[in-house]
Symmetry: C2
Subunit: 219 residues, 2 copies
DNA sequence: AATTGATTTAATCATTTGATTAAAATTTTT
DNA sequence: AAAAATTTTAATCAAATGATTAAATCAATT
């Protein structure tokens, strides 16, 4: 029966069980607040096994962290370089990709933000490797459209801040947002689905709204 | 000399020194990653003093947390109830208040978000005590303006998500945003100052852009 | 100056926690 | 089936850490 079980149930390897448990706990509670014993228990294995497979808590964390980060950044890097799509199409794809991804991994963004704050240099290499948005096709398009008078010229900083702020922030601020707007989990998900359609519309509105001149010093 | 020093230099009390050190470290590194010994060292006092004044790490943390949270939420609660100002004025005031406040306390939002995730129930009471935005004057105004056809009707959830996302998120995502847009600290601050003017304009654009009808199931 | 109360320190405790070790159990290979 | 390699466990170690204690110092009051 044990052999049959091995073959039929196709139980995931111990290493994978540990990684899954570690991902869950690290992502939820952060490095310092996660105990190796908790990971072991969550994975249904002995504490020593964790160190047998991964040498140390830190090494295990590093692995999880990098996998998380890669996944997170891929959402943007795939679309931002595509030379065949229009500005509007790119925005739509990015927003949809992020909302879908974060609906499945709601704890990720806060985890990433914490990790980056605690260790900016380690992330640096990874970002530069995966995406250099400043040289992306999307930003070139925006610059050209701005010069051609087709949209209101925008600084890349503001554009990114708006795109990411409207798309990712609701997941980061979910608990506050829910309480403040009196919305339950189900409703929250529904709203986020709506935002797939709305955020691109709003970003377009922003890009086509003329900016009033800055008021001068005279009254 | 010791008496003169006491009077002239007006050295802050030990209790205040501990609280200041605790606020700095807790806000920067979170509860679990902060050692009571580090707080003591940062405050220039002995470890035992910390427990003498505050009984325990947890008690000290609770105090800091609540003070932080109150400060954070005040930025919105003051303006959101004002019955004399227009929608546009309220938005402008809220955005300016938050950007000014977070420029001085850049670590706060991430700290708050972490704390809320880790302990939603404790925050609940505080939120309900300080603000119930759902009954705020601002949302009433938005609802009325929507019915009167003066703006595109918006759901409070989306409005809050956009306002907060565009205003607070840049501070939370500062490290990522800076790296991705290749912006240094000084430039970042300048951009955030710009956003005091821009975000209200953009929010207005969002509120006045008609939403295209949802495409039906037919092709 | 002496007494009293508040503040501060050094030393120590007890628990938690990451990590290791040696042995047992299991699986794979011969 | 025996031997070898791999995987798993129980027990234990050492360091870190939150907390306590008893004594020393300082400040205020008499």
């Amino acid at each position: 029966m044990s052999k049959a079980k091995k073959i039929e149930e196709k139980e995931e390897s111990t290493e994978e069980k540990i990684k899954a448990a570690a991902k869950k706990l690290f992502t939820q509670k952060g490095f310092a607040a996660t105990r190796t014993r908790d990971i072991a228990e969550e994975a249904g294995i002995n504490l020593a096994l964790l160190n047998y497979y991964f040498r140390s808590k830190q090494k295990l964390y590093d692995i999880i962290m990098m996998e998380n980060f890669r996944q997170f950044i891929q959402g943007i890097s795939v679309n931002v370089y595509d030379e065949k799509t229009s500005i509007q199409e790119k925005i739509e794809k990015i927003v949809i990709a992020y909302i879908d991804f974060l609906t499945l991994n709601p704890h990720l963004p806060l985890f990433i933000l914490n990790e980056i704050k605690g260790n900016p240099s380690r992330i640096a290499a990874q970002v530069n490797e995966d995406v250099s948005p400043m040289r992306s096709h999307l930003l070139k398009q925006l610059e050209e459209a701005g010069k051609a008078g087709k949209i209101t010229p925008v600084d890349p900083f503001h554009f990114m801040a708006n795109l990411v702020g409207m798309t990712i922030f609701p997941f980061v601020g979910k608990p506050i947002l829910q309480r403040v707007t009196n919305v339950n989990d189900e409703q929250f998900s529904a709203y986020m689905q709506e935002r797939k359609r709305l955020v691109p519309i709003w970003l377009k509105a922003i890009l086509t709204t003329p900016l009033p001149p800055i008021p001068g010093p005279e009254d």
